[in-house]
Structures are given as structure tokens and as C-alpha cells.
């Protein structure tokens, strides 16, 4: 089962490598991983999407929590949450027809065109991981994809709940 985990940890050198190392050392999957500092510069926040049974997830959560740098970990999958991912795609748009169809697909998904080359368009979409997959599929039907880069999922609790240092 797919899970989305949110971790806050000390913004110390090596902290990220401990998280990544833990996942490879204990043979847990990482489907995506994003990391950055927060409003408090001393704290980093990581979002990891992973796969695993309930039992594996319990171990992952406990093992991550055990790392000395980690302040908190939550499994967002369990609660009502918001999830977003950013994708940038460069596609072929060499003629009128392909430019029109790429523009149409981008509009339908609520994306935007960030840049135009001689024969390419560069597109952006912010959405759920699922929707990004159908965006790619729809573009594939219209033109050739040249390059794709994705941020990995980001997530936080809906409503007033928050993951903060208490």
C-alpha cells in the first residue's frame, strides 16, 4: 500500500543521509523524497512516499523516530491531508497542430506554459501524483515528450492540525 510520510528533523549535516541510509539498510522502498528547510531555519521537513504492509510501516515509523536528529514523523495516509506534486515537462511543439493540442491539454489540466523553444514547449503542473500521471499520458497522445522532472509529493494535514515542534 502506498504511504505518504512527513518528517521534521534538525537541519544538521548528515541528517538526510541518515534517513536515506536507514531506508536502504532496512530494505524499505522510497518512491519519492523531497526535502527543504521550513520557516524555522533550524528545522528541515521531508516528505517520503513509500510502499509497505501495516507491519513494515510501523517499523519504518519507529525506526525513523529513533534517529537522534528526528523530531517527529507522521503517516499522512492515515489522516485527512493535502498532497501536491510539481512537474515540469518539455514536449515537442514544432508545428501549429501540436502547439494547439499541447496548449489544450495543458489548459484542461490547469497547467501552464513556462517557456517556448524553437520546436518545444516547457509545461508546468501542480497537482496530485495521480493527476500528474494522466497529464503525462494525455500529452503522450498528442506529441513526443522530451524531458520530465518531478518534485516528489509534498503533504500536510487538512484543517487546523499541524506538524510542528511542540
Amino acid at each position: 500500500m502506498r504511504r505518504i510520510l512527513s518528517i521534521i528533523l534538525e537541519n544538521e549535516p548528515g541528517a538526510l543521509s541518515r534517513i536515506i541510509g536507514l531506508f536502504s539498510q532496512r530494505a524499505y522502498n522510497i518512491d519519492s523524497l523531497t526535502v527543504g528547510t521550513t520557516d524555522d531555519k533550524s528545522i528541515s521537513r521531508i516528505t517520503i512516499t513509500t510502499q509497505g504492509s501495516e507491519k513494515v510501516l510501523e517499523q519504518i515509523t519507529k525506526q525513523v523516530n529513533k534517529l537522534v536528529d528526528v523530531l517527529k514523523i507522521i503517516d499522512l495516509t492515515e489522516v485527512s491531508h493535502i498532497e501536491r506534486e510539481l512537474i515540469l515537462i518539455k514536449v515537442m511543439a514544432a508545428n501549429e497542430k501540436s502547439r494547439a493540442s499541447v496548449t489544450r491539454v495543458t489548459d484542461v489540466f490547469g497547467g501552464s506554459i513556462l517557456d517556448m523553444g524553437k520546436s518545444t514547449y516547457t509545461l508546468q503542473l501542480v497537482s496530485s501524483t495521480e493527476k500528474l500521471a494522466s497529464f503525462i499520458d494525455s500529452l503522450k497522445n498528442e506529441t513526443d515528450i522530451i524531458e520530465v522532472v518531478r518534485s516528489g509529493a509534498l503533504g500536510l494535514n487538512r484543517g487546523d492540525k499541524a506538524l510542528r515542534v511542540s
Binding site: P13, G14, R18, E58, Q63, V68, D69
Partner: protein, 574 residues
């Protein structure tokens, strides 16, 4: 004094002194020369010069296991640091408090593949509790204080501190500032068990008809043997220990049913399999205990207390998990027992003990003494006799380790020093040296074999330099006994590379290092030789004992079976 400025290296030594460091085990080299210079000008922290950094880690480990204090290692960058890796992993697997100070090339050279540069923090990352890249001399005392605190608190473990040469230099001086109390917002080990869980735990324990207490290294590490013994007696429960937990209760206590697991006693493994409630204290349901997890104790309600939440329900699902430090949890359990209305079913308990005594009557530890050759079990029994069961026993890894665990009933915690988790050959001699330094008046014995002893035999030289009269009891079977046993049992007797064709004359070897060597070939010489060795108080004695190479360790669990599926003797199943 507090205003006096000093170099980074001097800050380090002062910090170690403030933390009551008695010994550092180390080896000098380029990147740590400033530290060695700072060591030279003081007498508070004593340095033991080893012959190989791996041995330094095991000495610090033996010191830590026997005292409960943090063991401290100092190594230079590059090879010095990488030589520590096995010892760090050994300490990590057995949750031993240790701080490893590693030199590093100057900050300006890090990443340039400089001479003797290794990313030791990266190398050791999967086998440490935590590590620090120290980049600011002023912070050395704070980092050392944190390292000690992390190493010792919660579930203990090794901490690596990397110190680049440029922050140690005498050219730059700083004030000594060390926090009195360490507070870390990201690290707060749980001490108290959740009251609801304590209630549930005791309800299960008191309602049991077939209770077994299964305790491990956690009891030894938390110094709670007394509380454990009290609990066992107040419940009149049978108790088994893991390999790491031996000495948690006196090995001659009437309620003690022996070690459990792969080479555990019949009564311990049978009791576990038959139990309706298992009270697991400071254990981790290791694969060397459980055998096939799918067949593990199907009828038992499992109450599991441990300070580390990851140990709970990792391999075996706990029905009543309790996260907490045994130091606190034992008191909580005892209070709950005192306040509970639940009456122990004494008739059921009597039946249960009758059953257990039937298993005991099978005398699974009996062995044949009919051959002319010295049996390894006899050596351990004789060692027990001549040391009155009071020696610190450090062991290497292999058959001799299991024989020591089985035939030397440990009266006290911290008396039995062995690499249980990682199974590190070469651990025994340096560990026993660490013990001897901690307790010069006590007998510190190494139980080893002709394979293991050669993995750190260079430390005989260190023993000479510091006058460490440890006693080496080497069970010499000209083989890697445990490998050979598996080859006998699983590989149709094909002894692939498990025998040694060119053993040294260990007696002469010991003598060449300035020690006493005694060879024992005949059973009638065994007890006199051991007695003589123990009577020599001021010199190291190496006993090279020629034992029966065909002997196997029994009982032994049958692979893929349940906990109590076991061989009792060659060809005899339980």
C-alpha cells in the same frame, strides 16, 4: 580556571576528564597528534596503547560492559578509523555505550582524497546510534557531552565523533564551555511505561497458568538484576535468559531454567513453547532465540517491555507492548502486582512446575565423558570450580562461547562478556583486557579457541606493556569448531576450510611475549593447570588446552522448526 584558554585538543581532554573518563584506548597517527600531545601533558585520563584499533574498540567495549560506563576509543583518520568499524558494529548490536573519537584531515582538505582521509561518519552510519562531524573547536566540549549522553541513555550504543586536525591545533585557543545538563529537543528516550499498559501487563501475568519470564541484555544494561530476581521470586515464575541476559539472575537460582534459543536448554525452549503468557523483559526476539517465527509459541500472550520501541513487534507481535526503561518499569510492575486483586492460580502453577521439572529431569546438558580426550564442557566446569564461579568471563565466538554460556552459571550481571549480536571473533582477549583494567583485583578470564584467539593475538604485546594478567583459556581443537559442527550436521562432514594446519606453538608464543604458557593434553592435568594459572596473580597465563575436536554443542535447534524442535545429542531429537 574557566577563563583559561586552550587548544581544541586540550578542550577535548578536559571534556573527557569532566565526564570522568578513566581510560582511552587508542593508537596515534598524523591527524590526532595534537590530541596525543594534549594527553602527554596530563595524568587524569590514562591512555592505553593498543596494537590494532579494532582491539581498542573491544577493550573499550569490555570496559563498558563490565562497568556500565562509556568506553572511549581514539583513532587516527583513514585506516585508524576504518579499523574501528568491526568494534563499533559489535557495540551497536549489543547496545554498548561507547564513544569513538576519530581524527580527520584538516577541514580544507576534506573531500580531496587527502592522505589518510576516510569519511568515517559515512562508513559507520548504519552501525552507530549517532555521530558528529565536529567543525568548530569551541563546540568540542558540548559535542563530547552530547556524545556521552546519547551513548549511555535510552538504549545505549556507540557514538562516533569526527575531529578534523585544524580544530585541534595549539595555534588557536578557546575558553572551555560545557553544558551541565544535556537537553536535546529531538532526543528524549522514554523512561516510564504507560500506566494502562502496565495494568494490562500485570493482569496477563497474574492470570497466567503457564507463565515464563524471558529476560535479556536489557536487564544487564539497566542494572536491574535485583528487581528481576525479586519479581521472579514474588511470582514464583520460571525464568530463562538470552545469551546476552545471562547473569540477569543467578545461574544457580532454583527458578532459572537455563538459556533459551539455538543452544538453549530443553526446559527453557519447551517452557517457552508451552507457555500461555510470556513476560519478555529487555529482549528483542532475535532469530537465534525464536527459530522459525511462524511457529513461535502459538499459545502465548506476549507481554514485551523494552526501552526501544523498534524492538517491540519487530519480529514477534506483542500483545501487550510496554515502552520504558526497566529501571522504572520494574517498580511500576511491582506496585501494580501489590495493588492487584488477581490471585495467582497456585494449583496451575504447581502443575506447570511439575511439567518443567520433568523436562529438567532429562538432563539435556549431560555429555559423554568416555573418551580419553578432554571434553570442552569439562574445561568450563573445571574453570567454574577453580574460580568459585566469580571470574569475569570474556568469550570469543564459536563453540567455546556456547560451552561457556551453558556450563558456567553466572551469578551476577556484567560477569559474562560476549559478542552476542554481531558474533565477532577476536573480541575476547581485548574485552578481557578492558575488564582487567576496570577491575584489577578480579579474575578476568578469556574463553577462546585456536581460531578466535588468532584474530587479535597481537594484543598479548599490549598486555605485556601494561602488565595485564588476564587468563586465557583456549579450547584448542585444531578447527573452527562451530563451522565444523555445521559441516558435520548439514554438509555431510565436508570440512571445507574449517581446520587449521599450521597452528603456532601457543605456549612458546605466549612466552615470546613475556607471558606464561601452559599446554594441557591430559584430563588429569586439567584442574591442576587451571588452579596453577589462577594462582599466578601478576602474569598473563595462556592455557592451550587440547580438546576433543569431534565434540558438538548440544542442544541445538533444528533449522526452520519451532523454538523447541531441537537435537539433544547426535541423532537424538527432543
Amino acid at each position: 580556571m574557566s577563563n583559561q584558554k586552550m587548544s581544541g585538543a586540550a578542550l577535548l581532554i578536559k571534556a573527557l576528564k569532566e565526564l570522568n573518563t578513566e581510560y582511552i584506548f587508542g593508537y596515534p597517527g598524523g591527524s590526532v597528534l595534537d590530541i596525543y600531545d594534549a594527553l602527554f601533558v596530563q595524568d587524569d585520563v590514562k591512555h592505553i596503547l593498543v596494537r590494532h584499533e579494532q582491539a581498542a574498540t573491544h577493550m573499550a567495549d569490555g570496559y563498558a560492559r563490565s562497568t556500565g560506563e562509556v568506553g572511549v576509543v581514539l583513532a587516527t583518520s583513514g585506516p585508524g578509523a576504518t579499523n574501528c568499524v568491526t568494534g563499533i558494529a559489535t557495540a551497536y548490536m549489543d547496545s554498548i555505550p561507547m564513544v569513538v573519537l576519530s581524527g580527520q584531515v584538516p577541514t580544507s582538505l576534506i573531500g580531496d582524497d587527502a592522505f589518510q582521509e576516510t569519511d568515517i561518519v559515512g562508513c559507520s552510519r548504519p552501525i552507530v546510534k549517532h555521530s558528529f562531524n565536529c567543525r568548530d573547536a569551541k563546540k568540542i566540549p558540548e559535542i563530547i557531552a552530547k556524545a556521552f549522553y546519547i551513548a549511555k541513555s535510552g538504549r545505549p550504543g556507540p557514538v562516533v565523533v569526527e575531529l578534523p586536525k585544524d580544530i585541534l591545533t595549539p595555534d588557536l585557543e578557546f575558553e572551555f564551555v560545557m553544558p551541565k545538563n544535556i537537553k536535546m529537543r529531538s532526543y528524549n528516550p522514554t523512561s516510564k511505561g504507560h500506566p494502562k499498559q502496565i495494568k494490562k501487563a500485570i493482569a496477563a501475568v497474574l492470570s497466567a497458568k503457564k507463565l515464563v519470564i524471558y529476560s535479556g541484555g536489557g536487564v544487564v544494561l539497566s542494572d536491574t538484576a535485583e528487581q528481576l530476581t525479586h519479581l521472579v521470586e514474588s511470582l514464583n515464575a520460571p525464568i530463562t535468559n538470552t545469551l546476552m541476559g545471562l547473569g540477569g539472575i543467578d545461574g544457580t537460582h532454583p527458578n532459572f531454567i537455563g538459556m533459551l534459543g539455538m543452544h538453549g536448554s530443553l526446559e527453557a525452549n519447551k517452557s517457552m513453547a508451552g507457555a500461555d503468557v510470556i513476560l519478555a523483559l529487555g529482549v528483542r526476539f532475535d532469530d537465534r532465540v525464536t527459530n522459525n517465527v511462524n511457529k513461535f509459541c502459538p499459545n502465548a500472550t506476549i507481554v514485551h517491555v523494552d526501552v526501544d520501541p523498534t524492538s517491540i513487534s519487530k519480529t514477534i507481535q506483542a500483545h501487550v507492548p510496554v515502552v520504558g526503561d526497566l529501571k522504572t518499569v520494574f517498580n511500576q510492575l511491582q506496585t501494580e502486582i501489590d495493588n492487584s486483586d488477581i490471585q495467582i492460580d497456585r494449583a496451575a502453577q504447581e502443575d506447570w512446575w511439575r511439567q518443567i521439572n520433568n523436562w529438567r529431569d532429562q538432563k539435556c546438558m549431560s555429555y559423554s565423558k568416555d573418551s580419553d580426550k578432554i571434553k570442552p564442557q569439562t574445561v568450563i566446569e573445571t574453570l567454574y570450580k577453580v574460580t568459585n564461579g566469580e571470574a569475569y568471563i570474556s568469550s570469543d565466538v564459536g563453540q567455546h562461547q556456547m560451552f561457556a554460556a551453558q556450563y558456567y552459571p553466572f551469578a551476577k550481571p556484567r560477569q559474562w562478556i560476549n559478542s552476542g549480536g554481531l558474533g565477532t571473533m577476536g573480541f575476547g582477549l581485548p574485552a578481557a583486557m578492558g575488564v582487567k583494567l576496570a577491575f584489577p583485583e578480579k579474575e578476568s578470564v578469556v574463553v577462546t579457541g585456536d581460531g578466535s584467539i588468532q584474530m587479535n593475538i597481537q594484543e598479548l604485546s599490549t598486555c605485556m606493556q601494561y602488565g595485564l594478567p588476564v587468563k586465557i583459556v583456549s579450547l584448542n581443537n585444531r578447527s573452527l569448531g562451530m563451522v565444523r559442527q555445521w559441516q558435520d550436521m548439514v554438509y555431510s562432514g565436508r570440512h571445507s576450510f574449517s581446520y587449521m594446519e599450521s597452528l603456532p606453538d601457543f605456549v612458546k608464543l605466549a612466552e615470546s611475549y613475556g607471558h606464561v604458557g601452559i599446554r594441557v593434553d591430559n584430563i588429569e592435568d586439567l584442574e591442576p593447570a587451571l588452579t596453577k594459572a589462577m594462582a599466578i596473580k601478576d602474569r598473563l597465563v595462556f592455557l592451550d588446552i587440547n580438546i576433543d575436536e569431534t565434540e558438538h554443542v548440544y542442544p541445538m535447534q533444528i533449522k526452520t522448526g519451532a523454538i523447541d524442535d531441537m537435537w539433544l545429542k547426535k541423532g537424538v531429537k527432543a
